[in-house]
Amino acid sequence: GRQRLLSAFETVNHNFQSLFTRLFGGGQAELRLIDSDDPLEAGLEIFASPPGKKLSSMSLMSGGEQALTATALIFAVFMANPAPVCVLDEVDAPLDDANVERFCNMLKQMSEETDTRFIIITHHALTMSRMDRLYGVTMVERGISQLVSVDLSNAEQMVAAE
């Protein structure tokens, strides 16, 4: 029980540190167990410094920095035990273009290192352009959803038509 949690913490922390640095293009981060010596009672705290900034608790970072850091943590847990399917619903919403670029690089790499099938729900034109294929959901008849295949080159129009 305790031992398994501590060993999971070590693996996830190790993954988190390298994933953070790749997503931010630098900087460093770490997880800490706080508030209790018993890992089954402890809290999980996140400390991070984006490139050039001081190490501080995640709560002091900007909205986009927090989202990218939390995404690194989710991926760190995922890489500890890759699932056959991974669905991300609009996790790139608060990210600027440079961070979306690195986020997509990481998705590409994870899809090459694992057998996992990734499903990425997004409004970001940049993310769409990095996918292997696109499906569009439309409501031609109001309140009724339809799934359609979208030509990657038509994606631009899909965004514009939203």
Binding site: A70, V85, E90, V91, R117, T122
Partner: protein, 171 residues
């Protein structure tokens, strides 16, 4: 396990039978606000045995049944069918001999509350059987790899004790 296809019939805004082929690599899902993208993810979690209606943005489980529009009446049942390949042979003994699994969940409206019926390859099973099948394959309704809309914000604002649960999912 390999995920092959997700079929929705009368699930939320997907009133017409809809097949979503799950392919290798990176698949993007796009569309305007409110068109049904998140409903797709919820259908996947639902068929894998999700028990919390609240985590599916529903007051009660029967809220996933198509509730009608101005031009179409509400439906009385909803069904989702997930087709997977048992590639790793890591499933519970009762199911591990199968190469292909068609897992289905159907819910019917009833006066005394809606009922979910689970099947694997046409044979009735319990909700627990379905949950164990996916748990053994390192996935399932509560898999950390299924990130709901807004879940990143929840993680950021979570109390440290609640964040630790993420580790417990990994352990």
């Amino acid at each position: 396990m390999k995920f092959e296809n997700l079929r929705l019939v009368g699930f939320k805004s997907f009133v017409e039978p809809t097949d979503f082929e799950i392919r290798e690599g990176l698949t993007g899902i796009v569309g305007p606000n409110g068109c049904g993208k998140s409903n797709l993810l919820e259908a996947l979690r639902w068929v894998m045995g999700a028990t919390s209606a609240k985590a599916l943005r529903s007051g009660s489980m029967e809220d996933v049944i198509f509730s009608g529009t101005k031009d179409r009446p509400q439906r009385n049942w909803a069904e989702v069918i997930l087709t997977v390949e048992n590639t790793h042979h890591n499933l519970p003994a009762d199911f591990n001999h199968l190469d292909t699994l068609e897992v289905s969940r159907r819910i019917l409206r009833k006066e005394d509350g809606a009922q979910s019926i689970y099947k694997v390859n046409g044979k009735d099973v319990r909700a627990k059987d379905v949950q164990l099948i996916f748990a053994d394959a390192s996935t399932g309704a509560n898999s950390p790899a299924l990130v709901r809309q807004g879940q990143i914000s929840e993680l950021i604002n979570a109390k440290p004790q609640n964040r630790r649960r993420l580790l417990e999912e990994a352990a």
